[in-house]
Each structure stands twice: as structure tokens, then as C-alpha cells.
């Protein structure tokens, strides 16, 4: 099976300091991958690099067979990449379903003049999109908020709203940046189940997460970072017993 994403020799420097250095790994399709590591290990930086938010200083990234280094996020989205954010990036100036509909942007009629004139083709597509958004909101467990403004929703619901928005694009790969951060045990369990359901639907999931229980539970493959470098890689069983990981990370916990 060929990899969905290949990263080789990835390095990112901020003001002379390497946030990520010489990192190489592969993402296999259909699996749940996790990236773990202590605070400041470079996990979010890695996400920002592979999703095009940052441009790498060195190294190669390819996704779905294309060299994506330096590609802007919207071009990567076209290739089927989608993500959520550690600190929420919900559009508070819109309603909840509209946020999800934004996620479907690439699958809609985006022509300017028909939109301006409200041609039937546009309104028809939009109505379908609205239904799809509602369906996705139910899928992530947000049926209560079908009429809500985003700024009226609690934190936990916003985290799921981001997932719904990311799914709306029907991505091949979904990157989730700490989906369980700030959630209680109950909510975490629900997120856990949700991620598995997403993976079952055939979407490759890449996860950054602090909650070890969640990570160990659901990951097929784990990448451990420390100070921007790869510390270890393998199945959850392998990671659990890796002495370096234990001393650097798990041991401390």
C-alpha cells in the first residue's frame, strides 16, 4: 500500500531556533495516526507545515502523489486535506450550520455572477448544502444547535463544529489538533467514538492529542516528537514499551 503522505527531512526554523528538524515519516491511508510529545515538541508546528499554513525551511512533503511543499492551504484543501485547530478557529460571525457549509466551499457553485443574481442553480446547490450541513451536525452530535449562532455555543460543541466543518469537505485526510483538549471525561469518550466513526468511513485521521488514554485507545500508528525531532514511531503497543518514550515523556506523567 502506498503512503497517502510522505514527509522527508522536514525542518522549520523560527528566528534561528529549529521548531522541527529533519523529520521524516509516512501516513498510511485509512489509518488513525497520532502525533504525541511534550508541550513545545512541535506538534502544532508540524500540522501547520503539512497543511500549508507555514512554509517549511527545508524538506519535502508530498500528499496524494503531489509535491505540496509551499502550497497554500486552499490548494491543499483541493487535494483532499482538511483540519481542525487547537485554539478554535470558528467563524463567530456566522451561524453553526453556516460554519459547516463553509467547509463544503469547494463542492459548491462558486461563480460570482450567478451568486449575485441568485440564479436557481446556486440556490438549489445551496439548499442541498444546507441539508448536508445539518446531516453532518447530527453526525457529530450537534443536532441541538441547528439554529444556533456560533457565538452562542459552548466550548465542547464548538470543537465538534470544527470537526463537522472539516468533514463537510469530504476530505481524504483529516488532521485533528487536540480534539479532546478542555473536554471532560464524558465528552472525551464521545469524541473518541466520533473519531473512530470518521475513520471507519474511510477518512485517514491524523491526531495531535495530549490525552494518552484516547491516543492509545484509537491509534493505529503513533509518532512521538521531542524538541522537534522524531523520538519514536510505531504501534501503540510499541510506543507504550519504548524505553526512550517512557523516560522522556510517559515516565514523567
Amino acid at each position: 500500500m502506498s503512503a497517502l503522505m510522505t514527509v522527508e527531512g522536514l525542518t522549520k526554523t523560527f528566528g534561528g531556533v529549529n521548531a522541527i528538524s529533519e523529520l521524516s515519516f509516512e501516513i498510511q491511508p485509512g489509518h488513525i495516526h497520532s502525533v504525541i510529545g511534550p508541550n513545545g515538541a512541535g506538534k502544532t508546528t508540524l500540522f501547520n507545515l503539512v497543511t500549508g499554513v507555514y512554509t517549511p525551511t527545508e524538506g519535502r512533503i508530498s500528499f496524494a502523489g503531489e509535491d505540496t511543499r509551499g502550497m497554500p492551504p486552499h490548494a491543499l484543501a483541493r487535494l483532499g486535506m482538511s483540519r481542525t485547530f487547537q485554539n478554535l478557529q470558528v467563524c463567530m460571525n456566522m451561524t453553526a450550520p453556516e460554519n459547516v457549509m463553509v467547509g463544503r466551499h469547494l463542492r459548491l457553485d462558486r461563480r460570482f455572477l450567478p451568486a449575485l443574481l441568485r440564479l436557481p442553480a446556486v440556490t438549489r446547490g445551496d439548499r442541498a448544502c444546507r441539508e448536508k450541513a445539518a446531516e453532518l451536525m447530527r453526525f457529530v452530535g450537534l443536532e441541538r444547535y441547528l439554529d444556533a449562532d456560533a457565538d452562542a455555543m459552548p466550548y465542547g460543541a464548538l470543537k465538534r463544529l470544527e470537526i463537522a466543518r472539516a468533514l463537510a469537505a469530504e476530505p481524504r485526510m483529516l488532521l485533528l489538533d487536540e480534539p479532546a483538549a478542555g473536554l471532560n471525561a464524558n465528552e472525551t469518550a464521545e469524541i473518541d467514538a466520533l473519531i473512530q466513526r470518521v475513520a471507519e468511513s474511510g477518512v485517514t485521521v491524523v491526531l495531535v492529542e495530549h490525552d494518552m488514554k484516547l491516543v492509545m485507545n484509537i491509534s493505529d500508528h503513533i509518532l512521538v516528537l521531542n524538541y522537534g525531532k522524531k523520538l519514536a514511531e510505531g504501534s501503540s503497543e510499541e510506543i507504550r514499551h519504548n524505553p526512550e518514550v517512557i523516560s522522556a515523556y510517559l515516565g514523567a506523567a
Binding site: 499554513v53 484543501a77 445551496d126 466543518r165
Partner: protein, 313 residues
């Protein structure tokens, strides 16, 4: 109650009726004159609101486009004798092309840097208009011929009122259409979270450029209307203060509210007429009102008041 506020199209027939009935209250051409200025400003504000209120990109230079539109049609029809309708079209093209040419580098900026760049652009346009007196008449202004369409002369306050009223209705309708479409959602997402929009596949810079050009063309169209209606234009039209007035209409009435922009235009246009009795204190009162509204209703009049009504219901 709820849903009535939710469906923005419900406001269109109300607006149409108000516009149709309003002239009954007019007793002389001066009233029409003020109303026409309100309508002209309202269209500019509705367009600018797409940029500022919905896409979240500030511009302190839109009077530059307004003025450039006015002068392009003024020069082409007045100096070179083009048919006015053609010169209006040419003005839209000129402004559209200019806005498109500068939009990309300008809209890469954000916040106060964006404010500075748009301000600078507007001031540059007004300096050129004021300096190239051989073409524009300089600071003392130039005369612009009236407009006629297939022999029907657009002249006099009543005719202008009806034409502008229809234009406003169309402008509001177009704006509402755009806001509630994939394009409009992408724009609002740019405002809400630029990075989220990008990740969702929105080419944010293209959308910013698009809406910048659209709002510039709205302003230019009204610039041409203002020129042909007044019959006389001066570089003040393109000046910094005029830009600030437009922005204030949008913000005072309520950002991201098409009807808010409209209300803002009504207030900002009629208030100075109402304050003339205060003579030397006019500026003090005007400044105090601006501050008070923005301090107590930072989201603007219409969104704040509708939110209160909603809570009340």
C-alpha cells in the same frame, strides 16, 4: 418575531414601500435633494459594508473610487463629449481596473496597515485630481453635463429620486443575494477566521480582491450618479473626509448588516442638515454623537437594536 429578523429579504418590500411613500412627505426640491444624497450614500455604504462588515477588510479610501468615478465620467462626457451613459460605463471600468490592480498587494495587509494603505491610496487619487487642473479644473471643480438615455433626460429632483430609489433596491437585493451564497459565506469566513477559510479551500486573497473591486465599483457608480446629478464636482468628493464619512455610515448603522449600512447613510446624511441651527457647535455635537453611538453600541445601531428586540420578544 425571531424569524422576521432572520429573513433579510423581508426587509426589501418594506424598503420599497418606504421609498414609494416617502415623497408624500416632501414639500420642496430641497427635501428631494437630501433624499437623493441619502440614496447615493446608501448604495455606497451597502457596497462598502460587503467589504468592511462582511469580509472584515477596512478601507479608509473608498471616496477615492467615488471621486475617480465622478471625474472619469465628468471628463469623458464634459471635456471629450462622450455620451454620458458610455462615459459612466467607462468610469466603472476605469475604477474596476484600478481597484483590481492595487487590490492584491493592499489586501495582503491587515488591520491598521490595511487602513493606512487604503487611506494613502484614496489621498493619492484626490491629490492627482486636485493637481491636474488642466483636465479636472483643479480645486475649484468642473461642470458635468446632465445625463440622457435615448432622448429621456435624467434631470430634476423627482426623476433622480426615482432612479436612485430603484438603484438602491437593486443594490440591496444584490448585496443580500451575495451574502447568502457560497461566495458570501466564504467572504464572511475570511472575516471570522481567515485560516479556517483557507483550510476549507477558500482562496482568501482572491475573495478579498473580488469584494474590494465590487465595493469600489459600487462607489464609482454612485460617484458618476452624484456627478451627473449635481452637475458640478470638486476634489472634495475623493477626499479623506468623504472616505471617513462612508466608513462611519457602515459602522454607525451596523457592520455586517445591509439595512444597518442604509440607516447609517440616512443618519450621516441628514444629521448635518438637522444640526445647522447649532452654528459653531455643530462639530462638537456631531463628534459627541459619533462617540456616544460607538461607545454604547459598538456593533452599530441596527444589530444592537435588533438584538435587544429579539431579547425582548
Amino acid at each position: 418575531m425571531w424569524n422576521r429578523f432572520r429573513n433579510p429579504y423581508a426587509g426589501l418590500p418594506v424598503l420599497a414601500i418606504v421609498l414609494a411613500v416617502l415623497p408624500l412627505a416632501f414639500s420642496n426640491p430641497y427635501h428631494y435633494d437630501v433624499a437623493i444624497h441619502v440614496l447615493i450614500n446608501a448604495v455606497v455604504a451597502v457596497g462598502l459594508n460587503l467589504l468592511i462588515g462582511y469580509a472584515g477588510q477596512i478601507s479608509l479610501g473608498h471616496a477615492g473610487f467615488f471621486g475617480l468615478g465622478a471625474y472619469t465620467t465628468g471628463i469623458l462626457s464634459g471635456v471629450y463629449g462622450w455620451p454620458p451613459l458610455l462615459s459612466v460605463l467607462a468610469a466603472l471600468v476605469v475604477v474596476g481596473v484600478l481597484a483590481f490592480a492595487v487590490a492584491r498587494p493592499i489586501l495582503r495587509l491587515s488591520g491598521h496597515y490595511l487602513a493606512m494603505a487604503t487611506l494613502g491610496l484614496g489621498i493619492l487619487i484626490s491629490i492627482v485630481i486636485s493637481t491636474e487642473g488642466w483636465l479636472t479644473g483643479g480645486p475649484d471643480g468642473m461642470i458635468v453635463p446632465t445625463i440622457s438615455v435615448f432622448g429621456w433626460e435624467l434631470f430634476g429632483e423627482t426623476r433622480w429620486y426615482w432612479v436612485m430609489a430603484v438603484l438602491l433596491l437593486v443594490a440591496v437585493w444584490l448585496a443580500l443575494n451575495l451574502i447568502d451564497s457560497p461566495v458570501g459565506r466564504a467572504l464572511r469566513a475570511v472575516h471570522g477566521s481567515e485560516v479556517a477559510a483557507q483550510v476549507a479551500g477558500v482562496n482568501t486573497i482572491s475573495y478579498k480582491v473580488l469584494i474590494f473591486v465590487v465595493s469600489a465599483v459600487f462607489a464609482a457608480l454612485m460617484g458618476t450618479a452624484s456627478a451627473h446629478y449635481s452637475g458640478f464636482i470638486t476634489p472634495d468628493l475623493a477626499g479623506f473626509f468623504h472616505s471617513i464619512e462612508f466608513v462611519t455610515m457602515v459602522v454607525l448603522g451596523g457592520m455586517a448588516s445591509t439595512y444597518g449600512a442604509l440607516i447609517g447613510a440616512v443618519i450621516l446624511t441628514t444629521l448635518p442638515q438637522l444640526l445647522t441651527g447649532f452654528d459653531d457647535l455643530e462639530m462638537v455635537i456631531f463628534g459627541a454623537i459619533l462617540m456616544a453611538v460607538m461607545i454604547f453600541m459598538p456593533r452599530g445601531l441596527v444589530p444592537t437594536l435588533t438584538a435587544r428586540l429579539r431579547k425582548g420578544s
